[in-house]
Amino acid sequence: MPRVADALSLARSQGRAALVPYVMVDRARTRRLRSVVEAALEAGASALELGFPFSDPIADGPILQATADRALSNGTDWSDLVESLEIASALLPTAVMSYANPFWRHGLDHSLRSIARAGASGLIVPDLSLEEAPPWIAAAGRHSINLVLLAAPGVSERRTVRLARATRGFLYLVARYGTTGTALSAERIDLTPIVRTAHRAAPRTPVLIGFGIKDPATAAQALAYGADGVIVASALEERFVRAFGAATVRRVLGPIDRTLRARGVSPPSRPLLYRTRR
């Protein structure tokens, strides 16, 4: 299976916008996970984000909070993450998303080795700021995991440059002020300057927008900002409450994928000259 980074770069070089759905690990779902990931693949997903539940998810809105609570009360633990990763990463390049403490508790090296062996090629930690990232970046490097950093509105241009250069695989751009899945605020924040800054700082690193991407309109908006793809989380999880299965995946991702295909993205601009060492 290619790595998340390679899958996203490939999509971008072919002018395709990347679609990355999010599914939370839940012991009660393991049996049907394969069909869900297959459906995501068929619906045009380039990669998958596998969420691992945490008891106190401060960046998450009500939908993902409830999803995490259910997963934990179903007894979900690290072994379920490993099992789900093995299933998912056989079908799609997979990144893990969870908060810092579960990884810290298991030990950074131990936990990263564990998810790398189970097939993960990326890791997203929403409560890891750039200042706290160095030991995580080092550990991720040791286990061939791409540590994906997040950027957000309000972050200075200088910091966006640092984030874009330090992230691996892609830059996760949070679409707005707020937690995951909450209603889009009336004011639209133009993310174009942030995307442009990131692309200039790291031309080969794709920028994916997440938080609040729920339908073709919001996905189209993300591409209009210049993003190379979108992450769809709460919109899926909201419907998974009623039915965790392939049909739900098709219903949510299908229309978004059609919009993404219709629009496409521009491939990374090539530097004019490759400097060669003599």
């Binding site: 106190d56 401060i58 579960p102 508790r105 957000a152 972050v155 949070v174 002020y177 937690t179």
Partner: protein
């Protein structure tokens, strides 16, 4: 201003909050050197907060212990009935300086919510307070007080519906509202620079203890005792005295005697990351945060301030846990011996102080920070007595 205390502290937060935390740190650095800010803080400390608070010799409690002398630092006499106003006042002025028209806060026992509501009203800032439903029930009088002071109380219905969940809710609000809102965090926890800012605003407690004990008995006390939930009154007591040879004893909530860890993060927790800081955390083997329990809503928290974690590891302070029933006993001792109704939080410290006094000679002096008054706890105490 330290970002770390030994290995502890830091800022484990979503990037959305980073600009606001940097702004807060910048503003605080300039404000603390600004004579006008300091003068305003000083003026309101005296005329609104009611500082300095007295250092009181608890003679009859000392007789009960028949050992070292017990002195009470009367933070229960601060405006609002607890030390919480020291910090709310300081951060309220900072918010005003930053031009933020709205304050949000979390509260457990309701004391920090009351303090925030008070400063919000006094400075003309809109105030919303997040409070777990369980805590709203057990600290009803404080909910009413906050509402009368013009604050909106937002019930938190997630998790175990106590302080930890109120902090989650306040952080989520802040992520969405960060441009117009200051999160007036009430304890010495959370991401940098909060632990340092809260410690500095609360340090007035320890500075006054030093001054008053020198004036009253000619030297510093032998031991300082304070209760620890997040740890703000304790850090306010310990921090200014850290370079002296005063012994420190932090007292956590042990919860119900025959149950698990109560809320004693330092005694029973392990280092971990909660609410933006690296410190001791009560958690399970999977790194999920544990449920806590204590008779006192203000100590009922799975984490603790990072400076306490370092004071513990470095051996500078000792931390013990006191069970619910012992805290209740101390509540009655103080009521009957001294005519003072302590907050149940503070009663934990009183119990530990009496136990320490029993073991020490009469020439030793113990100062207990009496962090708050107990009016809010009458129902809980009454219910416990009838059981």
């Amino acid at each position: 201003m330290p970002r770390r205390f030994g290995p502890y502290g830091g800022a484990f937060v979503p990037e959305t909050l980073v600009p606001a935390l940097s702004e807060l740190e910048r503003e605080w650095r300039t404000a603390r050197r600004d004579p006008r800010f300091r003068a305003e803080l000083h003026r309101l400390s005296r005329t609104l907060a009611g500082r300095p608070t007295p250092l009181y010799f608890a003679g009859r409690l000392t007789e009960r212990a028949r050992g070292a002398e017990i002195w009470l630092k009367r933070e229960d006499l601060v405006h609002g009935g607890a030390h919480k106003f020291n910090n709310a006042l300081g951060q309220g002025l900072l918010a005003k300086r930053m031009g933020k028209p709205r304050l949000i806060a979390e509260t457990g026992a309701g004391q920090h919510g009351v303090a925030t509501a008070m400063i919000g009203a006094a400075l003309g800032l809109e105030t919303e307070v997040y409070m777990g439903e369980v805590d709203m029930e057990r600290q009803r009088s404080n909910v009413l007080r906050m509402e009368l002071l013009g604050a909106k109380v937002r019930p938190v219905t997630t998790g175990q519906r106590t302080l930890k969940d109120a902090i989650n809710a306040a952080l989520r609000d802040w992520i969405a509202s960060v441009r117009s809102t200051h999160y007036l965090l009430g304890s010495a926890v959370g991401p940098h620079p909060f632990p340092s800012i809260v410690a500095e605003f609360q340090s007035v407690i320890g500075r006054e203890i030093a001054k008053q004990s020198r004036a009253t008995f000619g030297r510093l006390p032998d031991l300082a005792v304070a209760c620890v939930g997040g740890g703000s009154n304790a850090i306010g007591t310990f921090h200014p005295l850290r370079r002296t040879d005063v012994e420190f004893l932090g007292v956590e909530a042990g919860g119900y005697r025959r149950h698990g860890a109560g809320a004693a993060s330092l005694a029973h927790g392990r280092p971990g990351i909660l609410h933006g800081t690296y410190s001791y955390v009560l958690q399970d083997r999977e790194g999920q945060i544990s449920e806590t329990e204590s008779i006192s809503a203000g100590l009922d928290y799975a984490g603790v301030g990072p400076e306490h974690a370092w004071l513990k590891d470095s051996g500078r302070a000792r931390y013990i846990a006191v069970h619910d029933d012992d805290a209740l006993r101390a509540f009655h001792w103080l009521a009957e011996d001294e005519g003072i109704l302590p907050a149940l939080e503070s009663a934990h410290a009183v119990f530990a102080a009496v136990a320490e006094a029993r073991r020490r000679p009469a020439r030793q002096k113990i100062v207990v920070t009496l962090s708050g008054r107990g009016d809010k706890d009458l129902e809980v105490v009454g219910r416990a007595a009838s059981r």
